[in-house]
């Protein structure tokens, strides 16, 4: 049997039972690798459940800095008897499996191409620890100890991390260190350490941090100057609001008065959550909500009102597997169409597509600026993979020169110089009217309504007056397309081959596409330009890009090729030129999937 021999480039998967405290042990493992200077990410595949169901944590170590799922598992730590056979089956030939040999499993370890290492984790912990809870928790820490020996992790780094984590509870640091040592000693004594899969310190994580996108989006809202949020708890968006709230508690207490310079309101449902956001934005505060697909369905009526009455709003949709309740703890990009056209009638919304936690931070600011500039809802379409997994990103930077774009709002002074104010006039020719805020000046008063209104803001049932307003709203989307972030182009002109194919995608597919593209180019010297769309309505560059190639592969994470649908409808493109490549099993798309998919599409194209 050939064993994998890999340095700083492999995947560890840890199969656990949820509610057993494995998350902190797995986090410790991932962070230790990060602190050794080796690029690493952690993805959590967890159940919609509190305790007792299978959960996995997948750590990708990549000296080259590829931070997506590769699609392979080199080392499995199989701690869950229920999923043992499936976990064993998933290991790549030549890989390794560690299991708790307190209960030997001869019958289940028969795979000749996988090296199985048994460690009596429970047995050791049952002897060493008193409380029932510690016995359960520490066997997770003990396997981390074994991996320190097997993978050649720097023990000093582990010890420092534990001391930092438990700085206020030193006895816990000691207990954890004891468990680490037990696992470590057992591995040294019984196996050839390190394994052919091993780590060696590098210097590629300096200037980087490990964080999830919900945290950076919540922090981004703080930096954007948002003062009001209202939401209804829903996986996987809840931690975004939690992050905003916690950062506000730390950063938004008025130093003089001790009062809160923010309002966080837990709503009774999503309808109310978005209603409060509209009320607050109408009144001049930057307000937002966060939800997932089911919440967008419920918010649709109000989104239509905001579109038609031209009220700014920011909504983060952390997408999860649908339809209906779907799989709430799995990821997809499945709300593209429903978000773009949320609500009845001729309604459209501005969408932003962050690709990682860095984008989540910076696009928060962009979302509020666009919402107020355009006076319309802006939906930030992130997803569970970005929002809840541990990403390695360059340290975030803040431009001190930033000032929020509050859009066209007449001040009291401006109103005093005017004969009369009318809400929906296209004064500047960009299809964006001026607005006024309640309480500022008697001359600014007008009536917001979702019923038919004319350009003066008055109620109307006259056809031409109605059309005048909705035609301007359509034109406003041309302005939106020009103001929204342009797509990101990646190309390599040093490759001479003709440009028959290209890649087009959005959001969290980015990491997997970048790795897959490097591999495809290296293997076949194929020219593969890649455009990542950052916003809807589509920037003019999107159509220009598509028109350069015979076929464009549209890569996205849903069943119905929703991005492709939107491109076809909005840009009037021949659908046959856009070939879909779809990953929708609920797992973050892997680079293997894209390499195989694109290779097949190219082969089919050449055969045709």
């Amino acid at each position: 049997m050939t064993k994998h021999s890999k340095l700083n480039d492999f995947v560890i998967k840890l199969a656990n039972v949820n509610g057993t405290g494995s998350a902190s042990a797995n986090g410790l493992l991932m962070k230790s690798i990060f602190r050794m200077g080796i690029p690493v990410t952690g993805k959590n595949f967890f159940p919609s459940n509190i305790q007792g169901l299978p959960t996995w944590y997948e750590i990708r170590v990549s000296k080259d800095g590829y931070l997506c799922r590769s699609g392979k598992v080199d080392l499995m730590v199989a701690m869950n008897a229920e999923t043992y056979s499936a976990d064993l089956a998933e290991v790549d030939p030549g890989g390794f499996l560690i299991y708790d040999s307190t209960w030997p499993r001869k019958d289940l370890t028969e795979r000749s191409d996988v090296t199985v290492l048994g460690i009596p984790l429970s047995g050791m912990c049952n002897e060493a620890f008193e409380s029932a809870r510690a016995k359960v928790l520490m066997k997770n820490v003990a396997y981390v100890g074994a991996l320190v020996a097997l993978l050649n992790i720097d023990m000093q780094v582990v010890e420092t991390l534990l001391k930092e984590t438990f700085s206020t509870k030193p006895h816990l640091a000691d207990a954890n260190m004891l468990a680490i040592k037990m696992g470590y000693d057992y591995a040294i004594e019984h196996f050839d350490c390190p394994l052919p899969l091993k780590l060696e310190a590098m210097d590629r994580t300096a200037g980087h941090v490990v964080v999830d996108g919900n945290t950076t989006a919540g922090l981004g809202a703080v930096y954007a100057g948002a003062t009001v949020t209202s939401w209804y708890p829903i996986t996987p968006s809840t931690s975004l609001i939690d992050a905003y709230s916690i950062f506000c508690q730390q950063l938004r207490k008025d130093p003089e008065t001790g009062d809160n310079n923010y309002c966080v309101i837990q709503a009774e449902d999503e309808l109310s959550a978005i209603g409060m956001v509209l009320g607050a934005n109408w009144n001049g505060a930057r307000a937002f909500t966060a939800t997932s697909g089911p919440g967008v369905s419920l918010m649709s009526e109000f989104l239509g009102l905001a579109y038609y009455a031209e009220i700014p709003a920011v909504l983060y949709d952390v997408q999860r597997v649908s339809p209906s309740t779907g799989m709430p703890t799995r990821t997809q990009q499945c709300d593209i169409v429903s978000a773009a056209y949320a609500s009845h009638g001729d309604t459209k919304h501005v969408l932003l597509f962050p690709s990682d936690p860095t984008d989540c931070f910076h696009m928060s600011r962009t979302a509020f600026d666009l919402a107020e500039r355009l006076q319309t809802p802006v939906i930030v379409l992130t997803d569970l993979d970005i929002g809840m997994n541990d990403w390695m990103i360059p340290e975030l930077e803040w431009d001190e020169n930033y000032t929020p774009d509050r859009g066209k709002v007449y001040s009291s002074e401006q109103l005093k110089d005017m004969d009369a104010f009318y809400r929906y006039l296209d004064v500047d020719g960009d299809a964006i009217p001026w607005r006024t805020l309640p309480g500022v000046d008697p001359k600014g008063a007008y009536f917001v309504r979702g019923s038919g209104h004319n350009k003066f803001g008055g109620y109307t049932e006259k056809s031409d007056e109605y059309k005048d307003v909705v035609d301007r709203l359509r034109r406003k989307f041309d302005t939106a397309a020009a103001l929204a972030p342009a797509p990101v182009l990646t190309k390599n002109d040093s490759i001479a081959s003709e440009k028959r194919w290209a890649l087009l995608s959005i959001g969290s597919c980015d990491g997997a596409i970048r790795e897959a593209r490097d591999r495809l180019i290296a293997d076949s010297n194929t020219n593969l330009d890649y455009l990542r769309i950052q916003a809807f309505p589509f920037h003019a560059d999107v159509l220009d890009f598509i028109e350069q190639y015979d076929h464009v592969f549209v890569i996205e994470q849903n069943r119905d090729a929703q991005l492709r649908q939107l491109l076809t409808i909005e840009l009037n493109i021949d659908p046959n030129r856009l070939l879909p490549l779809l990953s929708y099993d609920g797992m973050p798309v892997s680079s293997d999937f894209i390499v195989e998919g694109v290779s097949q599409l190219i082969q089919q194209g050449q055969a045709a």
């Binding site: 990060f34 602190r35 941090v209 490990v210 964080v211 930096y223 100057g225 003062t227 009001v228 209202s230 950063l251 938004r252 008025d254 008065t257 009062d259 809160n260 310079n261 309002c263 966080v264 309101i265 009774e268 309808l271 109310s272 959550a273 978005i274 209603g275 409060m276 956001v277 009320g279 607050a280 934005n281 109408w282 009144n283 001049g284 505060a285 307000a287 009526e301 109000f302 009102l305 340290e395 930077e397 001190e400 000032t403 929020p404 006024t436 309640p438 309480g439 008697p442 600014g444 008063a445 007008y446 009536f447 917001v448 309504r449 979702g450 019923s451 004319n454 003066f456 008055g458 109620y459």
Partner: protein
């Protein structure tokens, strides 16, 4: 034609209030409701109340949902911003607006369909949060705009125009609000402006959620014999239990207790509400006895009116949230942006 402005000509002798405005300055656009609609009388009482309180119209924000009642904010206080939102969802708009700017005065106008059917959830939760606002339900027991279906406030046995009797028991917003912990609950009748104006003034000055359920007959679909929300039936069965007089904070308070008053409550801003007992034994500060009194009389087919429950509230939303006194909407960005150095510090925890 609600977009038609009324001609702004006023008699020079019209009385002015403390800020130099006449009642005409509190008017809105022309009403498009049916002639004789109770809602127009309510609008008129609202104008009177704001005029008498000498409030700047543009410092008031008007919010509503969908329905005949929800159209009325266009017909009063033309100088105030208004928001005619979606059906049953006005409370969330009001909550968000109030969160963003606590310095404005909020008036929400709703109906029995808007608040007790489609909007029951939001209505209940706005009460729970004790949003500082006046919330009016113009209650006529019927859906007018869709031509006469029963609403959730229609009494069991009350008949529709074509004769069908309503088989379901009604939701009484007054009892519901008291049970949900509402700190100001009153009931009035659109046909009794003298009593309505002080009720509205007290509600405006209440520091917290003030509910006024106003029986406001629908002359087109629910004013016939057999309806329990008609003018005639309401007049015959109305039982004013406790009468509230309102004294604004800046008016001189001459006597501690005027004749007939048995209780005075000082409001948040120093204004006072004096209660005159019409029915002996009724105590508008005792929640439990208020509920049983209203229930007993409802069982007899009587409509109990007056300022039925008042508790000087200290728990309006912002005091619970610990919000800054300055409106969120006007906080300068410098106060909101933690800056680049703080960002670096935050990220040291992410290594």
């Amino acid at each position: 034609m609600s977009f038609l402005k009324k001609p702004k000509i006023s008699h020079p002798g019209l009385p002015k209030n403390d800020i130099g405005l006449t009642i005409r300055d509190y008017e809105g656009a022309m009403s498009t409701l049916c002639a004789g609609c109770g809602h127009d009388s309510v609008s008129s009482a609202i104008m009177q109340a704001y005029f008498e309180l000498s409030m700047q119209p543009h410092r008031v924000a008007k919010v509503s949902g969908i329905g005949c009642s929800s159209k009325t904010p266009t017909y009063f206080l033309g100088g105030a911003h208004g928001f005619n939102s979606v059906h049953g969802r006005m409370p969330s708009i009001a909550t968000g607006a109030n969160a963003a700017n606590r310095e404005l005065n909020y008036i929400g106008v709703s109906g029995d369909g808007d608040s007790l059917s489609i909007g029951l959830g939001q209505f209940a939760h706005a009460i729970r949060r004790n949003i500082n606002m006046m919330y009016l339900i113009e209650n006529n027991g019927v859906y007018g705009l869709t031509k006469g279906q029963f609403s959730a406030s229609a009494d069991r046995g009350s008949t529709a125009k074509k004769g069908d009797a309503n088989p379901y028991s009604p939701i009484d917003p007054v009892l519901l609000a008291i049970s949900l912990g509402c700190t100001f609950v009153g009931r009035g009748f659109s046909g009794d402006k003298d009593h309505l104006v002080p009720l509205i003034k007290s509600a405006i000055r209440h520091n917290g959620f003030a509910l006024l359920d106003i029986i406001s007959p629908c002359v087109t679909f629910n004013d016939h014999e057999g309806s329990t929300k008609s003018y005639a039936h309401t007049r015959a069965n109305m039982r004013e239990t406790v009468h509230a007089d309102f004294t604004d904070h800046h008016e001189e308070i001459v006597a501690q207790v005027s004749p007939g008053e048995f209780k005075k409550i000082t409001m948040h801003d120093g204004s006072r509400v004096g209660f005159k007992r019409v029915d002996e034994h009724y105590d508008p500060t005792d929640r439990i006895s208020a509920i049983s009194y209203i229930e007993e009389h409802r069982a007899k087919g009587e409509v109990v009116t007056g300022l039925l429950y008042l508790e000087e509230s200290t728990t309006e939303m912002h005091s619970v949230l610990g919000s800054s006194e300055q409106a969120m909407a006007t906080l300068p960005y410098e106060k909101l942006n933690p800056g680049a150095a703080t960002l670096a510090k935050i990220q040291s925890r992410w290594r």
